[in-house]
Amino acid sequence: MLGTTQLSDDFRDPVLAERLLTTLQQRLVPGRTYRLMEFCGGHTHALCQSGLLDRLPAAVQMIHGPGCPVCVLPIGRLQQAIDLAVSGQVILCSYGDMLRVPGRGRQSLLLARSTGADVRVVYGTAEALQVAREHPQRQVVFLAVGFETTTPMSAAAVQQAHREGLTNFSILCNHVLTPAALQGLLATEEDQVRVDGFVGPGHVSTIIGSDAFAAIARAFQKPICIAGFEPLDLLAAILHLVEQLNAGQGEVMNDFVRAVTPEGNRRAQALIDEVMELRESFEWRGLGQIPWSARRLRPKYADFDAELRFSLSTPTVADHRACRCPEVLRGACRPTDCTLFGTACTPDTPLGSCMVSPEGACAAYYLHGRSRLPVLRHG
């Protein structure tokens, strides 16, 4: 336990941070604006939590990207889980942050639970498997969401269930791919907002490796600096992005060498590949359909696919009419540009997905910075 804080404290040194900020200031080309997107919600959270957003030079604009797994899941996919839970056929296990996400109307897994559905919060897939073992007479479904970071755990759970012959366990597989999303974002970007470079995801890269972003950086000529989640990690990555942009470079740089290797975690990749295959196309909230951007279970593990087991279709549910989450997720507008922000839509009454998880751009803005937003109208 102690080791955890010692490790992180080294990357939270205010004196070093001040030096990095000074260097960053010196590197800026006068008159130039640097529009940088932190792809990952964890980075958004860290920037707000540390207060670094206040300290960055005005010429460095951070755009909060779509890397919050709760935020990019289309409502229809969530509704599928809610409907399944409400049907009473299953015990639905979910990570805690999915519970308050609004589905159709004001429905949510939390509301479903208060009205009798058996919905359980788990911290990991091992817990969901344990629920299945303890309730052999019930069907137990794990709502599997997330990027490459959480995918290996879902794959491991399915493999374990297969090994144990657990016939009452299955998953709703909604795992998505980061490089595909980045590609999708850049491909639709022309008429949207210009992003000069990316702070690349840290945890995802521990699994897929920094090389996984090389092709995108090359194709779109955008620098990508993979960063850890401490203040010094982020400052170093921002500094390196500015330096690359000044030099006209567009390369992948690994600023998270204590956790990320070029090739990533081969064992986790093999595990994913054994259990899952790519979907031809998958809908992302805010980004629309992106080809080859999500995973489903391979035919060998089809018995553990809740979509097949319960013959589920994916309902289409439109976003709230005034909700601008899709644009926020693309970096096309700021959370504060949305009329619902801070009025009808707050972390206590989220209408859009970006307000639900503290990693969502809107929640991060609301939770950490609304005192500096005098334009807010509060209902």
Partner: protein, 348 residues
């Protein structure tokens, strides 16, 4: 038809049964052989329907609290001492010296008597240490599945010394904010025991009675403005409540917050904010700048306040909204908000 015709309670292997709550002989037996073994007060011994208390001068403070913590036993305490400290501290936060306590128990059919006995012992011990007698109580039993082991409700009555005027609405710009010790210990102690999440950590609950600390502080100066124990919702909720009620803003210094390394580490791993974690033996004090250092010294000289610190200041509100903000070590600010939604299992 005397009580002696019932076999004695089996405090090692026995369980709570529905007749224990029926008001008949079994109820009397549970009270005599379990509760009365631990609680010895004149008022209880008198066996009236109501306890009578000696006449007292001055204003009274009274507070009721319910306890549904899970698990019932955790590092550093159990639901029993928590239930005593909870109401007692609420009364102490009004500046009152606690006089007497009452307790109600909702027991679930099948609950082991051995555990109930330990809980009653912990309550009696907490009462004895605090010098506050339990003067009245009640027990009900509900069918299996209608409760979770045992729920306890306590009420504490206290007397407010003359000249003491504590109220959340009295926080004023330029007041300073003090905390009596490390925050979040209780929340992490409970979480570390949660089934499915259990992790090794040496953090114990901070559950403790705070009235002697309060008396020590008031002896320095009656000019304290606000006292609050940051229980559910933690320091964040407590300060937001005060800010709202007083119509002020607040600014905390992150580097000044006393948080144990193990608590910080657990929060990092679980994605929690230590400011949202419950404390059950800490208090926040808001007082004028002029008396702050004297109050702080007195706190640090008391066993419950050795690690007391100044953590922030009260500011004027910015417009209609009352924000509690925190300055990070990097010179940025962020809002400390109320905790949203469900974050923890039952903690108190």
């Amino acid at each position: 038809m005397g009580k002696h015709r019932l076999r004695p309670l089996d405090l090692r292997h026995g369980v709570v049964e529905l007749p224990h709550g029926s008001g008949g002989r079994a109820t009397a037996q549970l009270i005599d052989e379990l509760f009365m073994r631990h609680f010895r007060s004149e008022a209880l011994a008198a066996r009236h329907d109501a306890a009578t208390l000696p006449q007292t001068a001055g204003r009274l403070a009274v507070s009721t609290d319910c306890f549904v913590v899970s698990p019932l036993f955790f590092p550093g305490g159990c639901i029993g001492d928590l239930a005593v400290h909870g109401s007692l501290n609420d009364v102490a936060m009004a500046g009152a010296q606690p006089l007497a306590l009452t307790a109600g128990f909702i027991l679930e059919e099948g609950f082991p008597l051995e555990q109930l006995d330990r809980i009653a012992a912990a309550m009696a011990d907490a009462c004895a240490r605090s010098g506050v007698p339990l003067v009245s109580g009640d027990t009900k039993v509900v069918e299996r599945g209608k409760a979770d082991g045992v729920f306890i409700s306590t009420t504490c009555l206290g007397r407010i010394p003359d000249g003491v005027e504590l109220s959340p609405s009295r926080a004023r710009p330029s007041d300073v904010i003090l905390v009596s010790g490390p925050i979040g210990d209780h929340g992490i102690a409970i979480l570390s025991q949660r089934p499915g999440l259990a992790f090794d950590c040496d953090v114990k609950s901070d559950s403790a009675a705070l009235h002697t600390l309060v008396a020590t502080m008031l002896a320095v100066t009656p000019e304290l403005h606000v006292l609050r124990d940051p229980t559910r919702g933690g320091v964040a909720a407590a300060l937001n409540e005060i800010a709202d009620q007083a119509g002020v803003g607040m600014l905390l210094e992150e580097s000044a917050l006393p948080i144990r390394g193990a608590v910080r580490a657990a929060c990092e791993l679980l994605g929690l904010d230590p400011l949202h974690l419950a404390c059950e033996g800490r208090l926040l004090a808001i007082c004028p700048q002029s008396v702050a250092s004297a109050v702080l010294q007195a706190m640090q000289a008391h066993p419950q306040g050795q690690e007391a610190r100044q953590i922030g200041v009260v500011l004027s509100a910015q417009g209609p909204q009352c924000f509690v903000e925190l300055r990070t070590p990097f010179g940025g600010r962020r809002i400390i908000d109320w905790p949203a939604g469900e974050q923890l299992p039952r903690i108190c």
